[in-house]
Subunit: 342 residues, 5 copies
Amino acid sequence: MGKAPGTVTYMGQREGAKSILSVINYDENTLDIHEVVDLGQIDFHQKSEFTSWIDVVGLSDELFIAELGKLTQINPLVLEDIVNTQQRPKIDEYENYIFGVFKMLYLNENQEIVSEHLAMVLMESSVIVFQELQDDVFDGLRERIKSKSGRIRTRGADYLFFALLDAVVDNYFVILEHINHRIEMLEDEVYDNPTNDVAHRIQELKKEVLKLRRQIAPVKELVGRLLDSESSLITKDTKLFLRDVQDHCIEINESLQIYREMSMSLMEMYMSNMSNKMNEVMKVLTIMASIFIPLTFIAGVYGMNFDHMPELHSEHGYPIVWGVMIAMFIGMLIYFKRKKWL
Amino acid sequence: MGKAPGTVTYMGQREGAKSILSVINYDENTLDIHEVVDLGQIDFHQKSEFTSWIDVVGLSDELFIAELGKLTQINPLVLEDIVNTQQRPKIDEYENYIFGVFKMLYLNENQEIVSEHLAMVLMESSVIVFQELQDDVFDGLRERIKSKSGRIRTRGADYLFFALLDAVVDNYFVILEHINHRIEMLEDEVYDNPTNDVAHRIQELKKEVLKLRRQIAPVKELVGRLLDSESSLITKDTKLFLRDVQDHCIEINESLQIYREMSMSLMEMYMSNMSNKMNEVMKVLTIMASIFIPLTFIAGVYGMNFDHMPELHSEHGYPIVWGVMIAMFIGMLIYFKRKKWL
Amino acid sequence: MGKAPGTVTYMGQREGAKSILSVINYDENTLDIHEVVDLGQIDFHQKSEFTSWIDVVGLSDELFIAELGKLTQINPLVLEDIVNTQQRPKIDEYENYIFGVFKMLYLNENQEIVSEHLAMVLMESSVIVFQELQDDVFDGLRERIKSKSGRIRTRGADYLFFALLDAVVDNYFVILEHINHRIEMLEDEVYDNPTNDVAHRIQELKKEVLKLRRQIAPVKELVGRLLDSESSLITKDTKLFLRDVQDHCIEINESLQIYREMSMSLMEMYMSNMSNKMNEVMKVLTIMASIFIPLTFIAGVYGMNFDHMPELHSEHGYPIVWGVMIAMFIGMLIYFKRKKWL
Amino acid sequence: MGKAPGTVTYMGQREGAKSILSVINYDENTLDIHEVVDLGQIDFHQKSEFTSWIDVVGLSDELFIAELGKLTQINPLVLEDIVNTQQRPKIDEYENYIFGVFKMLYLNENQEIVSEHLAMVLMESSVIVFQELQDDVFDGLRERIKSKSGRIRTRGADYLFFALLDAVVDNYFVILEHINHRIEMLEDEVYDNPTNDVAHRIQELKKEVLKLRRQIAPVKELVGRLLDSESSLITKDTKLFLRDVQDHCIEINESLQIYREMSMSLMEMYMSNMSNKMNEVMKVLTIMASIFIPLTFIAGVYGMNFDHMPELHSEHGYPIVWGVMIAMFIGMLIYFKRKKWL
Amino acid sequence: MGKAPGTVTYMGQREGAKSILSVINYDENTLDIHEVVDLGQIDFHQKSEFTSWIDVVGLSDELFIAELGKLTQINPLVLEDIVNTQQRPKIDEYENYIFGVFKMLYLNENQEIVSEHLAMVLMESSVIVFQELQDDVFDGLRERIKSKSGRIRTRGADYLFFALLDAVVDNYFVILEHINHRIEMLEDEVYDNPTNDVAHRIQELKKEVLKLRRQIAPVKELVGRLLDSESSLITKDTKLFLRDVQDHCIEINESLQIYREMSMSLMEMYMSNMSNKMNEVMKVLTIMASIFIPLTFIAGVYGMNFDHMPELHSEHGYPIVWGVMIAMFIGMLIYFKRKKWL
């Protein structure tokens, strides 16, 4: 805030790490993997017969990013978005490249949802991928490139761009599955044991679904914009595949909508269970009090010390009082039985 | 997940079964039914004067599907959708065919709603239908073809495609009827006996309506897209019929919307009944306690053992106390009567 | 269900009655009323200088409808909609006629809302009206034709079509008035005496408003479509009047929306009244118990039988205890008064 | 209802009053005010160099309105809307005039919102204003005309039409202010003293906001339509001012939306306060009962009349029992203190 | 209200202060700061090679504003909006200038959100900024101009306009952060100590979010309109930056939407916690009453004074009664333990 627009400023929480650059060059027959490279080794402008997947890990190295920006002639506003890890999903088309920001979502070892900033730049024959951490959701894709499985090796950079996006979106389904599982667990708990903690976790879930919607929902529209784009960087063939990604995005958005309604239902169910519990508590109290308070009164009457209480001196007084009290007891039981409180 | 896009991967839960192919060829005068056929026996490309209904049951036989894909030159992405039993409804137009995925919904013997994946490919003179199980909602249509009733025998493949879709959509009404019936039953139960289980079933219903909406709602828009399509595969005449299907879809969507609101009303009604019950319980308690606690106090007073309590020795003490107590009792009854608690 | 599309199948509950046909022919100077006519007597195709209002009562006579369809060359899909009494409102334009389905709504003698299926076909110089029962909302219109009041006698079939539709829509206002009246009554009852039955009737009302919306809401859009239509059957002059009908429809939809929100408010008000009642009940209980339980305790203390209880033998013990108890009683009263519970 | 469309029928509740006509003619230099005029004195068709504000008060004089309609050649459908005091806001363009219906809203002496029907017809050089009562919101405007302040005297009839509409919309802000004030008062009352009457008034408020929305919300769109209109009656210059009116309408609609949400929040707050009160009541009851019921039990034990109760004969029995009871009393107080119930 | 449209009337609450004018002229090499200037010193129409930031502080000096309006030939309607501090955000394009109203939002020293009216006029080579108070959010921008950091010194007035708007929007994020912080604090309090005051503050928060939405939400659309504008005042280059501002606006709107849902969740959580507390209170009451009322009854029975009560004279009567009472006590404890109430 307060900085000039277009200033390359890292927004994340992993300051000080150096950016690491790796490159995979491939065509149908060749495969070249360079684990760690220097910026100077890559010629971004020479038209290549290879497709290059250039991977930048670590976004806090502002000098590196600025240097890369100079070499690739990427607009400073784009560089700013690349390192702004709070940037919401977006796709912008420029003359020579298409730039996109997405959120990679995956579960960490504690089964918590991790959201990682991902920026991608599609150029003529290369895709530059910017990510904060080494972890990503692209291992399957790397495997496919190495093993030549699928179409990936026979197609160009636009297909690589699509394949990366597809991997990101595919992983959203894992997250949805996780959310679904949590909803089901909460459903059981609401039914069995609706403690205050369950209510709290339902609200947590609602918040998480809201956050996911924010990170995922824009993607559908962005892909739609790519489909309508007239950029020469994306072939008609690849658009066919992008349409598939769009389908997935629609499905994901629908699921999130449904999860939202289900979490609201959960809360409703919780409140209704609470009411039920309260009803039960009140019934116990009412039954106990309604039965024994009148009986106590009767006992109290014959505990009075008046000189002239003929009942006290009658021989059958005591058993008669017991009789009356038992009759009242049974009467109340029948009454509550009829009301279905017992 | 993690697979290359366009890979034909069965997503359902019925692995290992072989696909069975059957064919019905017909025109106005001829009818040819082949119960079980080999793939090789069908020539998908020869323009035929017959209309062919090609039925594939069983989607886990990936080799078979791939082979069929090769013969029909159906796009691998389409094949992927055909065997992806989780695919949401979609219609895609290609140059030589129109491809659609729908959900067949029917009630099983336990009156549970079953959702079955259905894929259809409309070609020049044939419709290929892909389904997971032998069960389907097309028996009436088969009968009509056999008995030459209606228009079906006099029209082409596009009409067959419509008729299949029409049968699917018609069956949605059966499901709606079932939902409606459940809502009415729940209404009665909420009124008569609002147990926790009823609340649970209302929430179940809400979830089911949400799920149905997801499976059914897209169909309306898809049919709309067919109506706007300029594909030569669908004649203007058939579009007239499709408009009817679209009308039905609109009606179904409206019904689902109404069912959703009604299930929310049910929950509201349930909560209001719970409140009512609680009120009733509390009234019983309050009446019993308010009447007998003061009376018990009076009895207690005259159970005290002070040496100097002149009332105790008065001859009329005891009957007077009884009189006071009865007066208080009657007073309370009148009070509660006035408050309409009795 | 399961029938071939375009099959003329009566869907209502009044099987077996014969259709009755009546005709009113009129122009500015002539008026010809035929109460009961045979189908054969009408020539549907001869261009007439008269405007004909052809009224068909009874839709279960499938033979009659089919015969009429043949004579008028109405599309079988339209015939299907004519006898399908569950058909939602629709307007379809064909080359030679415009077809519409609407719901006539009126109150029966028990002040219940009756919904009657109405189909109308506008042809060059006639309007064919299909209705299930003799009852309808067109008596005022018939009167106007007979008495030559208004414009009706000087205009053509399109104006008649409009006038019929206008009568249907005008009657919706009667229904709205009825709903409004019920809401006001329920408001009073919720305030005065919120029994469970009132909650039930609020829910009934909500359901009825939902159902009305479904039957009425589409009309607005349908009329809009007529206004945009380029059919030569509707003159520019009549469109001016149709715009008025559309205005009414907008107003009706807005009212229904407001009634919906008001019925939700009613339920809220009901719940808040229930809470209030509960609060009141609890206050009575709390006041009674809080006052008398401690007093009873004190009485209990001096009812104990210890040998050495000096207070019991003090001459002023008894009046002092009474004093303490009265002081406590007054103290509690003041306490509850301060809390505004009394 | 049941009347022929286009019949001029007064719909209000002030039957029998005669319509009164007054005219203000003005241009930059001249000002001519005629308090009461006869219809015959006005020439509606002669093109005038003056701008005329023709004011008709009283709409139940159907003969007068009909006569005026004949003289001005206003369409009968428009006349019908002019006298239909239930007509919702609308603007219709005709070849020679633009017709609008609006609701004047103002507060009466009891601070109740009064809604008055207002119809305006903009012609070449005059605006005819139809209102039910002498009261209106145009006094400021009249003053401006008389005192030559602002632009009004230098501009034509379209500016007058705008100025009238502007006065109507400006007064909506007064109403909003009033609503806002009521919301703030209710907020205080909900917080201080949430009686049933407050809930009732919140619901009243909600209803009133709904009604206002219905009367005000359409104006925004209507003005938008005027802005898009190509009628020669409205100059480009005046449209600049109309855009301002539209801005106000947007603001008003937003405010109404916010008031709606705030009244819903009020109800929520009310319910939460009710719950709080209930909690407080229950705590008092629970504390009193939990403390004194066990103590009473102990007193009861030593009130028993068994022959062999050694404690009774112990010299220290009585003080020990008191000690136990006081200890229990203090224990309970500490317990409730810890639970923060005290 | 009641004033003629286009009258310059100050609407704020800081009457009587004189307007203060300051000017910053700059190009890439030159920087000229004039702290306090007279209106006459500025030539608004001479095309300048410098970019001028003209700052007007204080809007209640109507004479000054009117004079400035005359010199700059700004439309009186615009002047009216400039001094109308209640004006909602708007952007209007005129031939020679673009006019915008926004709300500057910042936190004051009490951490309350302050909303300040801001009007800006973009002309050929200058931007006139109107603000009520000396305080603003532009210090960072002034610094950048002075220190030549960023692009600002190398670009024209349109970039200055963008930079000002960017500073305003950037500050919205500070406000969002503040809201977010308050939500988190309330979440904790709802969980720990749900007093009535917390409910009140949740409602306050909801109201504040509503108000913010009203002030912020329109900006997104306004910037969108600037992006579509064909005015020559805004270069294509600057539009690239405006697109960024629009992105921020979208993000802000989404956040506000989420905060709204979260504040509703807070209220739900509060209500559910209240229910929980009530349940707990009721359980304590029920347990205490259910255990001791029956025991007191038993004690009462043996406090009766009948002559013939054989138990009283049995030697083991007293210990047996104690045994029974302890057994009942333990029985009840087990019962409540099983119900998980303890």
